[in-house]
């Protein structure tokens, strides 16, 4: 369902303490569509759009950023996070276009979105944004419900190679990094990736419900999305996608390479701003993100969430995203998705 809050917040000013007056002034500026050149950033509430449902990886990244920026007083304005579901991020990306030129309109992005845009044959791409930074990378986790007959990742892959219709995979939006890593894995194991049944969910909560109810047999998503369920004993972690081991619930999780598959895959997440920003505006936003990256609170959050620090900003980020888009396109063609 659609998030009603986006537009609501657009018309909301920070009520906290002495900010009222400043916010009211900022409110006047709003109608002019963001700050003009030379204006300090931020001059208004920063709005981070999560182009997916609540409870997913983008959502928790954005909310962590919000928390750190506000708790550490990195900016004078407040930071709001809102969700726009749909199309693996395509809906949010389309909506971001409406805020062209406004440096306060930010959006989470990542590998997931590249794949989804590729799959949807979308008219807008990440070229229609102003890249700000790449922030984190995260291992993908393969999980099954606790009562599943699959005990190891090898069980899953063997079953799949024998009969692709015997296993249904499920995770984030179709075409996203979750499907990509599953496809890469079966391809590597000698299976036919184009036969794969994959069910995409637009939000971590829904995917968890789908895995636990038995709609899908094997869940694939960022490891942080399943941590609670693994800890609670409701899900079993079969493997993580990175070559570097990851610690989950006090234990070292098996990697795909441990299981004998030569896959090293990490899902990265970053943040972009609305298109049409001047270089000066972009650098102002980058500066805030840079400051955020330097805080201890952010480092702690990375550790807590099992995210790997993967920091690039500005031009470097722009180049990285472009390369990744190109790479994703290639993989898609190879896999015949």
């Amino acid at each position: 369902m659609r998030a009603s809050r986006h537009s609501a917040l657009r018309r909301t000013t920070a009520a906290a303490g002495g900010l009222v007056l400043a916010a009211a002034v900022a409110g006047c500026n709003q109608t002019t569509g963001g700050g003009a050149a030379g204006q300090a950033f931020p001059s208004d509430t920063i709005e981070i759009m999560v182009p997916a449902g609540a409870g997913g990886g983008w959502d928790s990244t954005a909310r962590t950023m919000q928390e750190v920026v506000q708790n550490e007083d990195l900016v004078d304005e407040s930071v709001e996070v809102f969700n726009v579901e749909g199309g693996g991020g395509a809906t949010g990306l389309a909506q971001l276009q409406e805020d062209s030129g406004n440096p306060h309109a930010l959006m989470m992005t990542g590998l997931v979105m590249l794949g989804a845009l590729e799959l949807a044959d979308s008219e807008v791409s990440l070229d229609n944004t102003t890249p700000i930074a790449v922030l984190t990378s995260e291992a993908e986790a393969f999980v099954v419900p606790a009562k599943s007959p699959f005990k190891t990742i090898n069980d899953v892959i063997d079953a799949y190679v024998k009969d692709p219709s015997s296993v249904t995979f499920g995770g984030g939006s179709a075409g996203g990094s979750d499907q990509l890593v599953a496809a890469e894995l079966v391809q590597e194991a000698g299976g036919d990736a184009s036969e794969m049944e994959y069910i995409g969910y637009s939000g971590g909560g829904e995917a968890i419900a789908g895995i636990l109810s038995g709609d899908v047999e094997v869940g694939v998503s960022g490891i942080s999305e399943f941590t609670e369920q693994i800890k609670g004993g409701k899900m079993r972690l079969l493997a993580v996608s990175t070559a570097d081991p990851v610690e989950v619930n006090g234990e070292q999780a098996p990697t795909l390479q441990d299981a004998g598959y030569d896959v090293d895959f990490a899902n990265w997440r970053g943040i972009v701003a609305a298109p049409g920003l001047s270089d000066e505006q972009r650098d102002q936003v980058v500066e805030v993100i840079d400051e955020l990256h330097g805080t201890d609170a952010w480092k702690q959050a990375l550790a807590d969430n099992n995210w790997t620090d993967f920091f690039k900003t500005g031009d470097e980020a722009e180049k990285f995203i472009k390369d990744e888009a190109e790479k994703t396109k290639q993989i898609y063609e190879e896999l015949g998705l």
Binding site: R11, T12, T13, A15, V20, A24, G27
Partner: protein
């Protein structure tokens, strides 16, 4: 459930009839009078709307109408809509044929006032940002109350100013919801 279902149950006499102390300028109560034309027009309009939506359904990108795709459900909804609209129209025609009086529906009374109210609403929508919340709301309230049949200007103005100023300050200062100050130096 709905704000108006009471009417459908038909069991409730209108409490407003025994009006006492009516104000000058208040509207007359105008209740059910026979007019079969309304539902007929509605039936035709609904069919037209269905055809319009059908063209929109076909405009959705993609080929075929496989149930997993984005075109299937809109198509299903549109087709069923068209079918039911036709049934509705036929029902109304049959009913008209059955009884010469047609069915008891409310006549569109005071339609001039409805149009006036809609014009006011639209003007309000356009005025709220440039003029500001307080002034536009106060003016809107007074004019809307008049269209709705109020005849006591002094009271309306008092209420309008109190309401718009009150709402503005409660929402912007206490609740943090943005409302445009407009031309007032707030």
């Amino acid at each position: 459930m709905t704000g108006s279902d009471s009417r459908e149950l038909g069991a409730v006499p209108d409490g407003g009839r025994a009006g006492h102390g009516a104000e000058p300028g208040e509207l007359d109560v105008d209740d059910a009078s026979s007019s079969p034309v309304g539902p007929l027009i509605a039936g035709v309009v609904m069919i037209g709307f269905g055809i319009l939506m059908l063209t929109q359904t076909l405009a959705i990108k993609g080929e075929g109408f496989e149930p997993e795709g984005p075109r299937f459900m809109p198509m299903l909804a549109t087709v069923v809509w068209l079918g039911l609209s036709t049934v509705y129209l036929v029902q109304q025609l049959l009913r008209m044929a059955r009884s010469r009086d047609g069915l008891p529906v409310q006549r569109f009374a005071h339609s001039g006032r409805v149009v006036a109210l809609l014009v006011l609403l639209v003007a309000y929508a356009y005025a709220i940002d440039p003029v500001g919340y307080i002034i536009s709301t106060a003016v809107f309230f007074v004019s809307a109350a008049r269209v709705l049949g109020s005849g006591v200007l002094a009271r309306d103005v008092t209420v309008a100013v109190g309401l718009s100023v009150g709402v503005y300050f409660v929402f912007t200062r206490l609740l943090g919801v943005y409302l445009p100050p407009g031309v007032l130096p707030l």
